[in-house]
């Protein structure tokens, strides 16, 4: 979840009132936010809603909470002056980076703190909402250095400019290969032979989207009062949304916004659009889902507190929100506005018969019987490694379900049997008193022909100076006898067991599992200096 930080004083100024910490903390729940840190100079807040990016800024957060606290309700004002500046979009960008939204802003001189806030919002939008700049990315520039109109052009990789943090002009191909941002985000342009560049009318490169700004025209510094903003991306609604969010945050900070005209080859658009959407309110559904009785005036009041517009059954969704897909999204906000803490809970009177999965009965019976035989139960992660499952057990792979993108070798596949896990436990506990008798019951998973099958297994090991086949076989027989199951033991050879001291356990014609004295070559791999006898049973055969 995204986290942001800001000065508390700044929040209170934007909010319009001083708040005590506990009031602030309570209000945050209305934004699905949690307080992480609270210091005067820096407050940290985590935002749970990954679908409402406007909240990832102190401006957006304060705007919503102004409504919740009844300081300012209804749709936020979006004053914008229609500007004459234009951006011309190259049609060759249609496959690379087809959409752009731009505007200019004039306001109070930017100080260090305001700059940090702008960069924070820019980063949150690009990283989280923008899917690491793939979906959208944002550039901010001091507009005094730019000759309008601006062109969004597809250029060859030989075009040169000085990227931020570098002193010399570099061709795009080198920026992608050497600049830290080029290395990090270059993959977004992979497979393209043209590159999206923003250029002003005197052919100065402003930025390479979505990688890096120019050091000459693309660096906002303290004291700047006029800004040029661009957002480029792969789909127009997302680009539009990000521009609306950013422009309104600047308005909240005292800037005047001047729109720009984006000229595509066959049409043009004015950005920021501040385009609101309308959705019909469904009172019946709202009451059915919320369990509240709603009067028309309640609906209006509750929704306006969440900064919606409302009139006669029609809800206006602000231009900085794209998360309203269904009227229930509005209903949720209505319940939030009502305040969860005020909701009276209703008792759940729903007589139903509870039950466990049928397999639980004999699984639990097995577990009880093995503890009765003095075995300690072990419970382990299901993720494992080929080295443990096969390498150290000296056997061949028998159908591993492997993870494509594993993070660490020791968690790179799903366990296909449990005996190796218990051997690993023995090897970690050589200092603990013997005899050591362990069992684990749990799921294993493996490929059977073309399908992946989960099986409920049980493995047991017995380790002490005189541990051997007979002892464990007595235990296996005892457990099965307790369930009225008769089994046969058939000669069996497998590399993890000592030849002549291992058996296949058969129930009727079905193979229930294997049992045997672990081969010294296996014991050696687990650094064990004590004999071990083990078994692995597929409980599904009994079920």
């Amino acid at each position: 979840m995204p986290g942001i930080s800001f000065a508390y004083e700044d929040f209170c100024r934007l909010f319009g009132k001083k708040l005590k910490k506990d009031e602030f903390e309570h209000l945050l729940t209305f934004a699905k936010a949690e307080l992480d840190d609270f210091l005067e100079e820096e407050v940290g807040v985590d935002l749970n809603d990954t679908n409402q990016p406007y909240l990832w800024s102190v401006e957006g957060l304060a705007r919503l909470l102004r409504g919740v606290a009844d300081i300012e309700t209804g749709l936020a004002k979006t004053p914008v002056r229609k500007g004459k500046k234009e951006v011309i979009v190259d049609r060759k960008l249609s496959k690379v980076r087809p959409f752009i939204a731009c505007f200019t802003a004039k306001g109070p001189a930017i100080d260090d703190y305001a700059l940090k806030q702008l960069i924070q919002l820019q980063e949150k939008l690009c990283e989280n909402f923008g899917r690491r700049r793939r979906k959208i990315s944002i550039g901010i520039y001091p507009s005094r250095k730019i000759d309008f109109p601006v062109r969004f052009k597809a250029v060859s990789p030989d075009v040169e400019f000085v990227p931020l943090e570098f002193a010399e002009p570099m061709p795009i191909s080198r920026i992608l290969a050497e600049h830290p941002k080029g290395v990090e985000y270059g993959c977004t342009l992979e497979g393209s032979d043209v590159y999206p560049v923003l250029m002003d009318s005197s052919d100065a490169v402003l930025s390479l989207a979505p990688i890096i700004n120019s050091a000459e025209t693309g660096r906002v510094t303290e004291g700047d009062t006029e800004l040029f903003f661009d957002c480029t991306g792969m789909d127009e609604p997302s680009v539009d949304l990000a521009a609306n969010i950013f422009a309104l945050a600047l308005i909240d900070r005292g800037f005047e916004i001047e729109s720009m005209t984006v000229k595509y080859s066959s049409r043009s658009a004015v950005t920021p659009s501040f385009r609101t959407t309308k959705i019909k309110f469904d009172k019946g559904l709202a009451e059915r889902v919320s369990g509240l009785e709603l009067k028309e005036s309640d609906v209006k009041r509750l929704l306006e507190r969440m900064r919606y517009g409302y009139s006669k059954g029609v809800v206006t969704v602000p231009s900085y929100r794209h998360d309203v897909m269904h009227v229930l999204d509005v209903v949720e906000d209505l319940i939030i506005s009502y305040d969860f803490a005020r909701l009276e809970s209703l008792p759940l009177e729903l007589p139903t018969v509870g039950s466990l999965l049928p397999k639980r009965r004999f699984i639990d019976l097995h577990r009880q019987l093995w503890t009765g035989l003095q075995y300690q139960e072990v419970f382990s992660p299901i993720l494992s490694s080929g080295d443990l499952l096969y390498g150290r057990m000296c056997v061949d792979d028998f159908g591993t379900v492997s993870i494509k993108n594993f993070m660490s070798k020791s968690y790179s596949c799903v366990r296909s049997w449990l005996l190796p896990v218990l051997m690993d436990v023995l090897s970690k506990n050589k200092h603990v008193d013997y005899p050591q008798r362990l069992f684990e019951q749990g799921l294993v998973s493996r490929w059977h022909k073309d399908t992946i099958v989960d099986e409920e297994h049980l493995a047991a090991v017995c380790a002490h100076t005189s541990a051997s086949y007979t002892e464990l076989r007595q235990h296996v027989e005892s457990v099965l006898r307790a369930q009225g199951v008769e089994c046969q033991f058939e000669e069996f050879e497998w590399d993890c067991f000592i030849p002549g001291r291992a058996a296949r356990v058969l129930v009727g014609k079905k193979e229930l599992g294997v049992i045997g004295d672990l081969h010294p070559a296996v014991l050696e791999k687990f650094n064990l200096l004590v004999p071990v006898v083990g078994c692995e049973l597929d409980l599904g055969v009994l079920g």
Partner: protein
């Protein structure tokens, strides 16, 4: 305790040792006088001390004992005597002496020693040879001091040695392997009045039954006798019985509570398709939780069990909302992607499958299931963990029922009365809520999340929209609180001593 009871509680060892204390005093002496080993005597004395029958003290003393050569010569005679004996008849050369059974080392040692005493004369005539002197013959007449010393009883307290014995000891110390001197603690016991009373209490060994044996029972000889009393308060050695694993026991308990509350358990596979794990739950394919860095994808696997009709409906819900009354996520839904296989990331996958299989209405469903996340392992993160989730379906259920349910869960599973339900976000529920409970030490802690499944989830899977209450509990967190564990890795501990000692709750 009366004296008779006390007398009856004496262990056979104590019974043997007690009468010997006054006369024999030390552990070693007592052990010599009865058929017990020193450790057994010591144990008996300690028990007697606990009963107040003796008082024990320890004296540190210097003890001398014979070393290997010392023991050898005590038996065989000192080499210098054997040397003198050999040459008392005739002058002998080195090789002749060797034939008489003296070792080279012994001869060398003797030559220096006997020359200093003036007992031999040396001659070199090709080979070295020796002749006894008058002084030598004189020496042979009586025992050497060292010889007398070697004949004493060992180990021996140095403070008890005479001057002559001390002199011999000093000379033997200089020789190889003759004696060892070491510090030693002597345990000494003194009878107390109670001890004396016990001896005279006249409870005879033959009147007490120690072991209840089959023979005794057969003969009936126990009749008219007392049974030895055990000290039932003393510590006994630990044993570790077979035991269930504490975390697993906790999960068993969670399951049993849910069943008692009328919930039916849902099945589901460990390896899921993107379809059931995410797409059916209306998580857009571009959602960050679906990143290659957030789920474990399976090599060479494609789902083959996705019902075509359902897939069509889910695709429509994503792209345009379909018939769910939603505008959808407005993107191109990738049908290839939905067939990718991954390790289940959320138990909600089980709920999706259940919803699609015409569940009984009204119904309450749950699963306690293993899920997997792409996480670095540390004290609060495991790539492999358990989730508990479920849903409730019925007529006229609403959000206020869900709030009631959550408060009940907080009471049932975390003994929490002070709870709060706040707005939350999950892609598959709307409205969504989070449940917090006040912990006496940790403050507000998150217990779980809940919500009402979105129409985009319910309508394709169930065929119609109705409010379905979905809930999930952070069961690992609750388990840690209940089991008193700080490190989440300990839930799956492989430390056998930890497991043997662990408390089951």
């Amino acid at each position: 305790m009366d004296i008779r009871k006390l007398a009856e509680s004496l262990h056979p060892f104590e019974r043997k040792v007690l009468p010997l204390v006054e006369e024999r005093q030390t552990v070693r002496n007592i052990a010599d006088a009865c058929s017990l080993q020193e450790v057994e005597v010591m144990r008996a004395l300690q028990w007697l001390e606990n009963k107040g029958a003796v008082e024990l003290s320890a004296e540190e003393s210097e003890l001398v004992d014979l070393d290997s050569n010392g023991k050898l010569y005590a038996d065989k005679g000192l080499p210098e005597r054997r040397f003198l004996d050999a040459i008392s008849e005739d002058t002998l050369s080195v090789s002749q002496l060797e034939k008489k059974g003296l070792g080279k080392d012994e001869i060398n040692a003797c030559v220096g020693l006997l020359r200093r005493k003036g007992a031999v004369d040396l001659m070199k005539d090709g080979e070295l040879s020796f002749t006894i002197t008058d002084r030598g013959r004189e020496l042979l007449e009586k025992p050497f001091l060292e010889e007398s010393f070697l004949e004493l009883d060992f180990p021996r307290d140095i403070s008890s040695l005479s001057d002559e014995e001390r002199f011999a000891l000093e000379s033997l110390k200089k020789r190889k392997g003759m004696v060892v001197v070491g510090k030693h603690k002597t345990k000494r016991a003194v009878l107390t009045d109670l001890g004396r009373d016990l001896i005279s209490s006249a409870v005879r060994e033959q009147d007490i039954v120690d072991v209840v044996s089959p023979a005794l029972l057969r003969s009936g000889d126990w009749q008219g006798k007392s049974f030895r009393r055990f000290d039932v308060r003393i510590n006994v050695p630990k044993v570790f019985g077979g035991k269930l694993q504490p975390y697993r026991v906790f999960l068993d308990w969670v399951r049993s509570r849910l069943v008692a509350l009328g919930f039916e358990e849902m099945p589901g596979p460990l390896v899921e398709s993107d379809f059931w794990d995410m797409d059916a739950l209306f998580m857009p394919q571009f959602h960050s939780a679906r990143d290659i860095h957030d789920a474990y994808y399976i090599e060479d696997a494609t789902a083959s069990d996705i019902p075509g009709k359902l897939l069509k409906k889910v695709k429509a819900a994503h792209e345009s909302g379909g018939d769910t009354g939603s505008s959808g996520w407005k993107y191109h839904f990738d049908v290839g992607r939905t067939k990718q296989m991954l390790l289940r990331t959320q138990t909600t996958a089980c709920s999706a499958r259940k919803l699609a299989s015409a569940p009984a209405v009204p119904g309450k469903y749950f699963a306690v299931a293993r899920c997997f996340r792409y996480d670095v392992v540390d004290a609060t993160h495991l790539p492999d963990f358990n989730q508990t989730e479920g849903f409730i379906i019925g007529e006229d259920l609403n959000f206020r029922h869900l709030v009631g349910l959550l408060k009940m869960f907080a009471r049932e599973f975390a003994d929490a009365e002070d709870v709060k339900v706040v707005p939350g976000y999950f892609p598959f529920t709307e409205p969504s809520a989070e449940l917090f409970a006040k912990h006496p030490k940790l403050g507000w802690i998150e217990l779980g999340g809940a919500g009402i499944f979105r129409p985009e989830v319910v309508k394709p899977l169930l065929g119609e929209y109705r409010p379905v209450l979905a809930w999930g509990l952070g069961i690992d967190r609750i388990a840690m609180l209940k089991l008193g564990i700080d490190d989440i890795r300990d839930l799956f501990s492989h430390d056998l001593q930890f497991l043997r000692d662990a408390r089951l709750v």
